[in-house]
């Protein structure tokens, strides 16, 4: 028997394999996560303070990413913006996926009326265009961070529900679920202990994808002026504020866009290159 370890890209000690693209993507995501957490320690200037005499200033040693349309430091604003973009999106995706997945599993396991009611209700919800729904809600209630989080999560619950229900229905048809039922287990035990561990992988992948959608929708809402309100700004709002700099190729409009792109593309790449477990244990 021959073993060629040379060809194995980064096989972990735990029997997992994780390729380079996935690791790079994870590094970018972690970086943004850390930036969001430690934003207050990183910023060289307060976000609201006008520090440059010029507007749409170029990149310099003093202002690393140039200055915006009022002469505020772009680096500080992007670093603080990470808090809003990452924070709001993480909160929204957590609510959306938890609710959707739990409801999806309940529907799959209960079947019958519960399933029909939940499915039709959420189908009806998903027929409302997401941007429009966001616009209407924010316009009606006014924009605040809790409102944004709830709106975004409500928009993405039906998708998470559909996905989890489809997976759970397949698992529910397995004999071990029948065994659990004839043992006399209740719905919640079946959901938590028998179904959830078996759908967790795909659900996590879906969570990542949904996170990307939420970042983009949040940026879209902010771009339309319905997101985070000035003087604070998330990345979408930064693009909107500085859109006037586009003809000059100002860094103030480029970097927030790059920030959005780097985060969403990294999440996508990470999902496509998640570490997977090596089943061949004798290696």
């Amino acid at each position: 028997m021959t073993t060629d370890t040379a060809k194995m890209p980064a096989a972990g000690r735990m029997g997992y394999r994780f390729n380079l693209v996935g690791m790079l993507a994870l590094a970018v995501i972690l970086l943004w996560g850390l930036v969001a957490v430690f934003a207050h320690l990183l910023i060289p200037y307060p976000v609201g303070e006008i520090v440059d005499f010029d507007y749409f200033g170029p990149m310099s040693a003093q202002f690393w990413l140039g200055s915006d349309y009022l002469g505020r430091d772009m680096f500080s604003r992007i670093v603080m913006g990470a808090r809003y973009t990452v924070g709001i999106s993480v909160a929204a995706v957590a609510i959306a996926c938890t609710t959707g997945v739990v409801l999806g599993m309940i529907a799959a396991v209960s079947g019958g009326w519960t399933d029909t009611l939940l499915s039709r209700f959420l189908d009806a919800m998903s027929s409302i265009p997401s941007k429009l729904f966001g616009l209407v809600v924010v316009a009606a209630v006014g924009s605040s961070i809790p409102v944004l989080i709830i709106t975004l999560s409500v928009i993405y619950i039906p998708g998470a529900y559909r996905f989890a229900r489809a997976l759970a229905v397949n698992i529910n048809a397995m004999d071990f679920i029948t065994v659990a039922r004839t043992r006399g287990e209740n719905v919640f035990y079946i959901i938590r202990s028998e179904i959830l561990p078996n759908i967790l992988g795909p659900v996590l992948a879906d969570l990542g994808l949904r996170f990307v959608f939420i970042v983009l929708l949040l940026s879209g809402l902010s771009f339309l002026g319905l997101g985070v309100q000035p003087p604070y700004a998330d990345w979408g709002a930064l693009v909107r504020e500085n859109i006037g700099g586009l003809p000059f190729g100002a860094p103030a409009v480029m970097f927030p866009s790059i920030a959005i792109a780097s985060l969403t593309i990294s999440v996508n790449l990470l999902i496509d290159n998640l570490p997977y477990k090596i089943r061949d244990r004798s290696a």
Binding site: D4, F176, V179, R181, S193
Partner: protein, 551 residues
Amino acid sequence: MTNLVEIRDLKVEAKTDSGRIVEIIKGVSFDVAEGEIVALIGESGSGKTTVALTLMGHARPGCRISGGSVKLAGKDMARLSEKARARVRGTEVSYVPQSAAAAFNPAATIMEQVIEITRIHDLMPAAEAKSRAVELFRALSLPEPDTIGDRYPHQVSGGQLQRLSAAMALIGDPKIVIFDEPTTALDVTTQIEVLRAFKAVMRKGGIAGVYVSHDLAVVAQIADRIIVLKGGEVQEAGRTGQILSNAKHPYTRELLAAFEPKARGAAPVVSEARPILAIENIVAGYGAVQRNGLPLVCAVRSVSLTVEKGRNLGIIGESGCGKSTLARTIAGILPTSGGRVIFDGQELAPSASKRTHEQLREMQIVFQYADTALNPAKSIEDILARPLTFYHGMNGPARDKRIAALLDMVQLPGSVRHRRPAELSGGQKQRVNFARALAADPKLILCDEITSALDTVVAAAVIELLKELQRELGLSYIFISHDISVVEAICDEIVVMYAGEKVEQLMPSATGKRPQHPYSQLLFSSVPKLDPHWLDGLERDPELVRAYCQR
């Protein structure tokens, strides 16, 4: 006689997901003479299908032929280019798969698919191919040979489809046909027709064959020579008669011994008059309830039976006869539409969700496929711990001790505790499956085809285990199977089911009387025996066959 096929020192290797290379065929050599049928026999994972596929120069994805030669009529299939192989496939070597149902395209007529080979290789005009196909249909004794080709695959039965796939393989006039377990998925009563048809066509055309199977008795009927494989190596090779009567290799002997399990000794004395389970006029089925109170599709029609304490009841019948539905009904998975289930003196609610904790505990069901019956995300320990906690409220060291005892009972090493089901073999998984049922301390275990997915040798070991546990724990089993020899080995009484009805209840043939009902006679006479002349000598009443084998 020249050799049509010469395989020399064939090696096939596979790459695992960690990039490690495993040799799955370790230097196999054998010949097939012209017009000879050679059987490759062995347990699952022995490499028998892999060897057969190399005859077409094919290795399954992730595998490759790494050494040796596969000479087919002078050409080395292992060295040919993919294009040259494609020319040989269908014209010189062809393949009959295990599941004909999966091999046919449901959207095209059978005739189109059968003559496809002649079209691809441009062998003959379509009209000629069609008349040749009809000839083959006739030779394979298919009903209505002139028109059966116009049907779609779903309009013919499984046995017919399997013969049609043989017609597909034979139309290009191959020198050799590979049969990959072609009768494994069929009922015994249909298997005979298919085997006969194969044998007749192969003999008449002087076509060589490689017959892959795990069933020694089936192989004995059709093969001239038998090659026993295990772990990718030839264990023994010889003429059929010689292998059956005078096997040299211990593994072959084990296979032969497993074929005829030891009959069950005298049943323990029945001390209680009350039966453990009595069912009365059970009706069950699927679909909406009709106006007459019956379900749309009735799978079980008014079946009554009783199981005495400490005794075993076998239920046999072909696929679709309602035997599994009956088990699911008794277990409350599928509520009855009529009739009563009386368990240990108490009438049970039709649905499991309405039964009491104790009632559920005392009757356990074990399913056929251990793969789907064990949660792949949990360790063996967790799987066994749940019923202990759930039924007996056990925790901590007491539970650990009990898990160890259970594993010991089903003869598994304690080291499997922390493994996941995917890391166990088929037989081990089935033992865990059974241990989980035992964890409940049941009085009755419903075994639904529990040995059908296992290799013969492994299945025999599981049956032995079941018998032993019964002696120790005083259990009763309801044992459902399509395999009569398995049922005879373990049961005190046998119920024969046909089309949802119980046709007869009898004793195992070793101890009891002969079957009386015509269907049971047909069923019992259809079980292949380890005698190469059995098929040729078998005579069946054509009236009976017509009455019961229409599907």
